[in-house]
């Protein structure tokens, strides 16, 4: 089968993003967790937390490295794979792209300082202060880059004449209607996923029999933060639904298999769809909830897919992705909620094997959810690359050789993924926390 350039460009971009987003998510969330751990260590004068921050920071450097290089890949691939898109959109999005680089530069400088100055300050609080610009930098870079994606969904702030941009208002382009809900959701979910990855690591250690004070403290801190952020995600998800209903109704309608515009629309979860008749079967249907989620009014009309030309409707399978995502959200919240509830009321149930197994799963589930969320967002924008202005099929490169480039990058990501895992494992297995603590106390 011969794939065309558009399909290949999409495949290569998806692959890069699927790989990069793992490291980008960790990159945004982990610094916050490091700051909390180091801060607790200083407040409680508890060397366990300080050690936790130190170890997390060390593992973090490896993921940052992979994040940096894959981020460079996607940055350049935008121009290499979508030159026509960049020629049009480049003028409007250069501002946030530029700002993103600055934010990242800022982060990189302070991360370098943070890593190498653990014992160089007289007061530990000075060292803690250095992580703050790292958090600021990573969160801001997530913010800026997400506004670029938001711009693709709700482009504004420019005028087009014969396919050429005439005037641009970069600020209006950046603060487009999709920006607030998207950036908020991306940043908060990055915090959730990072906290839950750390939860998983601690839980796996405990399942392997390492029931030490260190792992117990680590699990409790990470899982509690995970729950807090996960609850916040509910809020940001709600903001996203309201945004979609207003500005991108076809995406919401595709997610919800909502065909007829109607008042008091039902919320649909699970189920199957008959492609011909658009009949939904075996679903869970909550009456009028979709209207409520969209407009805070049970009787508000929700636009359906039938209002749109057939070639401007996103693929309907994104509903299934949404189902999986919501199931995982349910699992994550119940696991962490149980754990936190036990940690307050029933301490001896906290480290129950079954619960630990569940907690060990939350990290991977959260990461899968990040991927699913992006897939829903991106596939849900189809067929547009710049909604209303340019279709994906018009943006791809005309250059030859895309197929081999796909495999080249596939090999690269495989290679990086394998080595990254090996290195991180080695780093921690060869140097268990108890030994490290003893060594540091001696010094």
């Amino acid at each position: 089968m011969e794939l065309d350039n558009v399909t290949l460009s999409r495949l290569l971009t998806s692959m890069t993003l699927i790989f990069h987003i793992i490291f980008a998510t960790i990159g945004v969330g982990i610094p916050l967790m490091i700051a909390i751990a180091e801060g607790l260590g200083i407040l409680k004068k508890d060397p366990h937390y300080t050690l936790m921050a130190r170890r997390w920071a060390r593992g973090y450097t490896i993921t940052v490295a992979v994040g940096v290089v894959t981020g460079t890949c996607i940055g350049l691939q935008l121009s290499l794979l979508w030159p026509s898109f960049m020629r049009i959109a480049g003028q409007a999005i250069s501002f946030p792209l530029f700002m993103e680089t600055f934010a990242f530069f800022f982060e990189a400088i302070f991360l370098g300082i943070y890593l190498y100055t653990w014992d160089r300050f007289k007061k530990p609080i000075y060292h803690w202060l250095i992580i703050l610009p790292v958090i600021l930098g990573s969160t801001l870079s997530a913010f800026f880059i997400t506004t670029v994606n938001a711009f693709m969904n709700t482009p504004q702030g420019f005028t087009l004449e014969n396919g050429v941009i005439k005037t641009v208002d970069p600020i209006a382009a950046m603060f487009n209607p999709a920006a607030p809900s998207k950036t908020l959701h991306v940043i908060v979910t990055a915090y959730v996923a990072s906290a839950l990855i750390l939860t998983s690591i601690a839980a796996i250690q405990m399942l392997r029999g390492k029931m030490t004070d260190y792992t117990k403290k680590g699990l409790r801190l990470a899982a509690t933060m995970g729950l807090i952020f996960a609850v916040l995600t509910g809020v940001t998800g709600d903001v996203s639904a309201k945004f979609l209903a207003h500005y991108q109704p076809e995406k919401l309608a595709a997610i919800e298999w909502h065909f007829e515009t109607e008042k008091g629309a039902d919320f649909i979860l699970f189920g199957t769809l008959d492609d011909e008749t658009h009949e939904v079967k075996y679903e869970i249907r909550i009456p009028k909830l979709l209207s409520f989620l969209s407009f805070s009014d049970f009787n508000a009309p929700v636009t359906g897919l039938n209002e749109f030309p057939e070639d401007e409707i996103p693929p309907l399978y994104i509903h299934y992705l949404f189902d999986i995502k919501m199931t995982f959200v349910g699992l994550i919240i119940s696991m962490t909620f149980l754990f936190v509830a036990f940690s307050i009321k029933k301490k001896n149930w906290m480290h129950n094997k079954l619960l630990l197994t569940g907690l060990a799963l939350t990290g991977p589930l959260a990461m899968i959810n990040i991927e699913l969320g992006w897939m829903i967002a991106e596939i849900g924008r189809q067929p547009w690359i710049l909604r209303g202005f340019m279709k994906v099929s018009e943006g791809a490169t005309t250059a030859k050789g895309l197929g081999s480039m796909f495999w080249l990058f596939f090999a690269l990501y495989l290679f990086l993924g394998i080595f990254c895992t090996i290195v991180i494992r080695k780093m921690f297995i060869h140097n268990p926390p108890e030994e490290e603590l003893a060594y540091r106390n001696k010094k």
């Binding site: 992979v66 460079t72 121009s79 480049g90 080249l408």
Partner: protein, 338 residues
């Protein structure tokens, strides 16, 4: 001055910054591997890793910065170069990715791994070799537009003597810049063993540096005459200054004196040569398709990018200085006491 010119100067300055810091980094990778092979690594690897550890990531950001900046100021660059350079661009990207990640793997992971070190050393030479071809391409003749289809003449590039002389000068310059910097760093660390070896490396690369520059001039004359004429007629003095700086730097290193000042002159040497080259290249970004005027973004975006850039620099320069104060200019850190 118009904003088009201001924009390209800003970008060119950034590219210059990248060339200096990246050369130090690329060359250091090569020397680290070379040291290992010639069993001198116990003398120099310490110096190299102490400098590189805190700064490698910043080097990479410099590159991304330049890249994002040029797309921002001159969006047509994305269209022409993006279409033409899919394959060479992707290969450079893979090399950069391998280098960045394997540096982190070997530095924070397992220090003694030879494969990591080899990948790190080899990419240190391959990356400048592949990136510098973009400069060759920008001189014109390798990207053609026929009936709206952009074509990259890879074969012509690969068989051109001029293009290879650019590759050679790039590699030699990398080793030269890196060796002179590391000499300075070793002297600062009062590490006599490392200093002796690194000073040798530095001196070794002086002559090839200047010889290859002449080769480049000859190649340029055959390749792009009006560009060459521009250099000879209008910017000859920049290259003369560059040559004088080169002489001063080499002399200081030869006399074993003021290594810091010597490195400063190396930086000036490349500053004059690089800006002379850039000035002579104007107004073209891609000869003859993109100039800084026809490829320029709209006025609003351009002005805003300049403002953001200045504000950003106000933030970054103090942070960079803070970093340098902690790692480069802190004698105790350099000497390994911290």
């Amino acid at each position: 001055m118009n904003t088009e010119l201001l924009g390209i100067i800003v970008l060119w300055t950034f590219l210059y910054g990248y060339i200096i810091v990246a050369s130090i980094d690329f060359g250091a990778g090569f020397f680290a591997y070379y040291g290992k092979v010639t069993k001198k690594d116990h003398l120099i690897s310490n110096i190299i890793s102490r400098y590189l550890s805190p700064v490698w990531e910043i080097t990479n950001v410099f590159f991304v910065f330049f890249f994002v900046g040029i797309i921002g100021f001159f969006p047509s660059v994305a269209y022409y170069y993006g279409t033409a350079l899919l394959i060479p661009g992707s290969i450079s990207l893979v090399l950069l990715a391998i280098r960045g990640s394997f540096y982190a793997f070997s530095n924070y992971g397992s220090k003694e791994n030879k494969i990591y070190l080899f990948l790190y050393g080899a990419t240190g030479l391959l990356i400048p070799a592949s990136l510098c071809t973009v400069l060759t391409i920008s001189g014109g003749g390798y990207i053609v537009e026929k009936n709206g289809v952009i074509e990259f003449l890879a074969e012509k590039l690969l068989t051109s003597i001029y293009s290879w002389s650019v590759v050679i000068i790039a590699i030699i310059s990398v080793l030269y810049i890196s060796a002179t910097f590391l000499t300075y760093y070793a002297s600062k660390a009062k590490d006599e063993g490392a200093l002796a070896i690194l000073r040798q490396y530095a001196l070794f690369w002086t002559v090839p540096t200047i010889l290859s520059s002449f080769l480049l001039f000859v190649g340029l004359r055959d390749n792009n005459l009006h560009f060459y004429q521009n250099i000879i007629d209008r910017y000859w003095w920049m290259f003369l200054l560059s040559f004088i700086c080169f002489l001063i730097a080499s002399l200081l290193i030869l006399l074993k004196r003021y290594y810091g000042v010597a490195f400063l002159f190396v930086m000036l040497q490349f500053f004059f040569a690089f800006f002379g080259y850039g000035a002579a290249h104007l107004p073209y970004i891609l000869d003859p398709y993109i100039t800084i005027y026809n490829g320029y973004t709209n006025e609003t975006s351009g002005t805003m990018l300049v403002i953001v850039f200045v504000l950003g620099l106000l933030l970054l320069v103090p942070s960079l200085l803070f970093l340098f104060k902690l790692f480069l200019f802190d004698a105790e850190y350099v000497q390994g006491k911290k």
